[in-house]
C-alpha cells in the first residue's frame, strides 16, 4: 500500500520496461563479476591494512586451489601437486554446488532457506544409517539407497520449515535457522560418548564407518569422487525442473508474484511446502556425497566446524540462482576455501588462519555487492539518475 506507484503517472509503467536486454545482461553477468572484483579489492585492502601483501596472498591462494594446473599441464610440467590441489577444489565445490542449489531453488519460490546446514546434516545422518547397515549389497545398489536416504532426510528437514510456512505462516528464515541448531546439537548428541549412534571405538565420539560397498567411486585419483558428477547432474535437474515442468512453472510464478499465482489457480501453500522440501533434498544430497565420497564417517567435532551450506548461500546469490552461475560461483568459492586451507597455503606467505577468515569476509562482501545491483550500476554509469533504476519493490509483505 505504501509504495504503490501512483496510478495516474505513466512513468510508473515505463520504469518496468528498463529491465530488458542490456540490463538483463548487466544484472545477469556483469554485476556478479563486478561484485566479485570489488569484494576481492576490499578483501585485499584488509590484507594490506594488517601488514601483508595482497598480491602475493591472492597468488598463493590461486595456486593453492590448483588453478595453475591447466597451465602446467599445457606446458608439460610436473602436474602432480597442482592436480591434487585442483581435485580438492572440485571436491570442495561438490557440496557447495549442491547446497547452493538448495538455496537457489527456494529463492526461485520467493523463500530464503538458510537451513541448508541442518538439511545437510539430516541427509548425512540418514545416508550414514543406510551406509553402515545392509552389508553385502552390490555397490551401485548400496550407493543408490544411501543417496535416496540422504535426499529423503534433507527433504524431511526442509519440509518441516515448509510445512510451518504453509500452515501457520512461520517465516522460513527463523524456522530454518532454528532447525539448523537443532540438527547440529542433535547430531552432536547422536555421536557423543555413549550416544545412540556412537561407533565401536569406546573412547571416540565418532560414528561407525560406512561399508566399502556404500562409497562413491573415485574418478580422478586420489581425491575426486563421483559426487562431482552428481553435482553436475543436479545442476541439469535444477534447470530442467524449474524451466521445463509444471512444478517449476508454479514455483517460479509463486516466487515472482505469489498473489498473482494464487489468482491464477496455483496452490501457493503447496508450492511453499514443495519448494522447501525439494530445497532440503538438494542439501541432503550435499551431505550424502560428502559422506560417501570424502568422510565415510562423522566425528562429533565435525558439527562444530562444517558450515559449507552457509557458504553456499553466497554461492547461490553470486550465481544469481542460475545453474551456470552456481557452477562458476561454486568453483570460485571452493577455490577460496582450498586455496586458504592450511595444507595448501604456504604459511610463510600468508597464515591460513587469517586466510580462512579473509575468505569468509570476501564471501560476505560478494553477497552485499551482488545484492545491491544499484551500487554496481551506480559505479558503472556514474551518479546520473541511478535512483530511478531498479525495480519497484515487491508487493509481498515480509512478515519479519
Amino acid at each position: 500500500m505504501s509504495v504503490t506507484p501512483p496510478a495516474q503517472v505513466p512513468e510508473a509503467e515505463e520504469a518496468y520496461s528498463l529491465r530488458t536486454g542490456a540490463q538483463e545482461l548487466a544484472t545477469g553477468f556483469l554485476v556478479p563479476l563486478a561484485a566479485t572484483l570489488l569484494a576481492f579489492l576490499i578483501g585485499g585492502l584488509v590484507v594490506l591494512l594488517t601488514g601483508h601483501n595482497p598480491i602475493t596472498a591472492y597468488r598463493a591462494i590461486f595456486e593453492g586451489a590448483g588453478f595453475n594446473w591447466p597451465y602446467e599441464w599445457l606446458t608439460g610440467q610436473d602436474t602432480r601437486a597442482s592436480g591434487r590441489d585442483l581435485q580438492q577444489t572440485l571436491r570442495t565445490a561438490t557440496p557447495l554446488i549442491l547446497s547452493a542449489l538448495a538455496v537457489a531453488f527456494s529463492f526461485r519460490c520467493g523463500l530464503f532457506n538458510i537451513g541448508g546446514q541442518g538439511q545437510y546434516w539430516v541427509g548425512f545422518i540418514f545416508a550414514l544409517l543406510v551406509g553402515t547397515h545392509l552389508e553385502g549389497l552390490s555397490r551401485p545398489l548400496h550407493v543408490l539407497l544411501c543417496v535416496a536416504a540422504g535426499i529423503l532426510g534433507g527433504a524431511f528437514w526442509g519440509g518441516i520449515a515448509g510445512f510451518l510456512r504453509a500452515t501457520v505462516g512461520a517465516h522460513e528464515v527463523i524456522t530454518t535457522i532454528m532447525l539448523n541448531w537443532i540438527a547440529i546439537y542433535g547430531g552432536k548428541w547422536l555421536f557423543e560418548l555413549d550416544g545412540p549412534l556412537q561407533g565401536a571405538a569406546p573412547s571416540l565420539p565418532r560414528s561407525e564407518i560406512i561399508f566399502d560397498s556404500a562409497t562413491l567411486w573415485i574418478i580422478w585419483s586420489p581425491y575426486l569422487h563421483a559426487g562431482f558428477l552428481i553435482a553436475l547432474l543436479a545442476l541439469v535437474v535444477y534447470y530442467v525442473v524449474l524451466n521445463r515442468t509444471t512444478l517449476g512453472f508454479e514455483v517460479r510464478a509463486v516466487g515472482f508474484n505469489a498473489e498473482a499465482a494464487r489468482y491464477g489457480g496455483i496452490n501457493v501453500r503447496k508450492s511453499y511446502f514443495l519448494a522447501l522440501a525439494i530445497s532440503g533434498a538438494f542439501a541432503g544430497l550435499a551431505g550424502t556425497v560428502d559422506l560417501l565420497g570424502v568422510k565415510y564417517a562423522v566425528d562429533q567435532s565435525d558439527f562444530d566446524t562444517n558450515f559449507v551450506a552457509f557458504t553456499a548461500i553466497a554461492v547461490a546469490l553470486l550465481g544469481r540462482n542460475k545453474a551456470v552461475g552456481i557452477l562458476l560461483a561454486g568453483l570460485l568459492f571452493a577455490a577460496l576455501s582450498t586455496g586458504t586451507s592450511s595444507r595448501n597455503l604456504d604459511p610463510d606467505v600468508f597464515e591460513p588462519a587469517l586466510a580462512t577468515d579473509l575468505a569468509t569476509m570476501i564471501q560476505a562482501l560478494v553477497i552485499f555487492f551482488v545484492g545491491a545491483e544499484l551500487l554496481i550500476v551506480y559505479l558503472w554509469r556514474g551518479t546520473r539518475r541511478y535512483a530511478r533504476l531498479g525495480r519497484p519493490p515487491a508487493e509481498e509483505p515480509a512478515p519479519l
Binding site: 500500500m1 504503490t4 501512483p6 496510478a7 495516474q8 503517472v9 505513466p10 512513468e11 509503467e13 515505463e14 520504469a15 518496468y16 520496461s17 528498463l18 529491465r19 530488458t20 524451466n243 521445463r244 515442468t245 509444471t246 512444478l247 517449476g248 512453472f249 517460479r252 510464478a253 515472482f256 508474484n257 498473489e259 498473482a260 499465482a261 494464487r262 489468482y263 491464477g264 489457480g265 496455483i266 496452490n267 539518475r385 530511478r388 508487493e395
Partner: protein, 509 residues
Amino acid sequence: MADDAPLLELKGITKRFPGVVANDRVDFDLRRGEVHALLGENGAGKSTLVNVLYGLYRPDEGEILINGKPVELGSPRDAIDLGIGMVHQHFMLIPVMTVAENIVLGVEPTREKVLLDEDAAEERVKQIARSFKFAIDPHARIENIGVGQQQRVEILKALFRGAEILILDEPTAVLTPQEALELFGILRTLTQEGMSVIFISHKLHEVLEIADRVTVLRRGKKIETLPREGATQEQLAKLMVGREVFLRVDKKPAEPGEPLLQVEDLHVLDQRGLPAVRGVSFEVRAGEIVGIAGVDGNGQTELIDALTGLTKVQNGVIRIAGNDITRDSTRERFDEGIGHIPEDRQRRGLILDFTLAENIGLHDYRNEPNSRFGWLRPGRLVTLARRLLKEFDVRGGGPTTLASSLSGGNQQKVVIAREVERDPRVLVAGQPTRGLDVGAIEFVHNRLVEERDEGRAVLLVSLELEEIMSLSDRILVIFGGEIVGEYGPDVTEEELGVAMTGGTREAVA
C-alpha cells in the same frame, strides 16, 4: 470571489521520466480564493504537475513563484512551509494510528520538550476541526472510519499545517455523489475563508460544478485555461481528448438466457475477520451484463474473491450453470467456467517477470497441449500466445517479451485475451478499465459487450458509475456488504447515488 493577482504561478514546467515527457512546458496560475481545476485524462500529467508543486518531483525546467517570488521546492517540507497542502488520491494516512496522531505527525506538540503531548494534540485537532465546522473524533483509528471521514482528516492535516493552497488529487474518486456534494460544500467554505484550491479531476460535470477556472492538460501539455462561465461538457471533453468523444457504448438490447451464475445468501469475511459481504443473493444470466455499483470498500473486493475462490465463503451457495462450486478451489472454478479479470492487473492479473506466453498460460499450463505428464511444452504456449496477441491487437512485444515491458492498456488486453480464450461461461470483471486511456477503455468496453453477445454471463464490478451505467443491462447496488437495490439500465445517477449511501435500504427490505 477571487482577486486577480496570482498567488501561485508555475512557468514552463517540464518534467521528464525515462521514455516520456510527463509535463511539457506547462504554465499554470492560481488566484487567491479560487478553485482552479486541472482537467485531463489518465496520464495527461496532472498528478506529475501537482507533485512538482508539492516538492515530490523536481522539475527539469521551469520555475515556481509564490506571491511573485521564485521558490525552491526540494521536498514536501518546503511546500508545507510555503503554505501548500495536498490531499493525495491514495490517502497518506496511517491506518493503525488515530486521527489526532495522523494530523499532528511531523509537527507534534510536546511536553517537557521530549514527550509526546497526546492531550494537547487532541485538543488542537478538535479546535481546528471546530473552526472549519468538521465533525471528527480525534480519538478514532483511521482504519475504523469511513472514506469520507478519512478525506476530511487529510484536509485537516493540511489546514493544521497552515495551508493556504490546497491541492486535491481526484478527491471524488472514492466518494458517492452525495459525499462529493458535501465535499464541494467544504471547499466553498474554505475558499470563502481565503483558501485557494487546485482541484484535479477527469470528470467534466464535477469540474463545471465546483471550479472557477479550468486548465486542460493533454499528453503532458497545457491545452487551454478557461473560466467556468460559458464552458460546456462537450467543449471540455474535446479539449481533453483531442477529438470528438463518444461516451456511449453501442449495444443491442440484451437477450438473457438461462442463469449461469447464481449466488445465494453469500457471507464473506474481510482480511481482518469482519463481515464484508452479508447475505448477498443474485443471479447473472447468459447474454447479459450485470453491473455492481457501489462506493469502494463496501464488499466488492470480497465478493469477487469469494466468487473466484480467493477467499473462503462463510455461508451461502455459489452455482455455475447449476453446479455448486462453493467449496471448490480457484483452479477448479476456472475449469468450471469462470473467467476473471482482476481488479489489479499488476498485482494479480499478470506476473510481470513472466513472458507474455507464460502469462497467457497461467491457468492452463497444466492442461494438454501445454504440458503432458508434468512436462511443460513452452513451444505450445508460444504458439497460443502468438495467435492471441494478434487477435487482441497487443502491441509492444511478442510471446517471449516480459509482461512488465508492456503499457497498461496492452497488459490489460493480455489479461482479457487469456480469460476470454478459455471460453468461460461466466466472466467476472473487476474495474477492468482502471488506469487506462480512452482508446483502451473503448476497446475493453466493446469487448465486454461482444462477450455478452457470445452468450456469456458478465458480472461487472466498477467504481465508475458511468461505466456501470453505459454497459450494464441490470444494475445492482452494494452497500455495507448487502445488495440494497436493483435497477434497469435507464436509472439516473442520482437514484444510484442515493442507493449507494444506503438511502433506499429500508425501501428494498
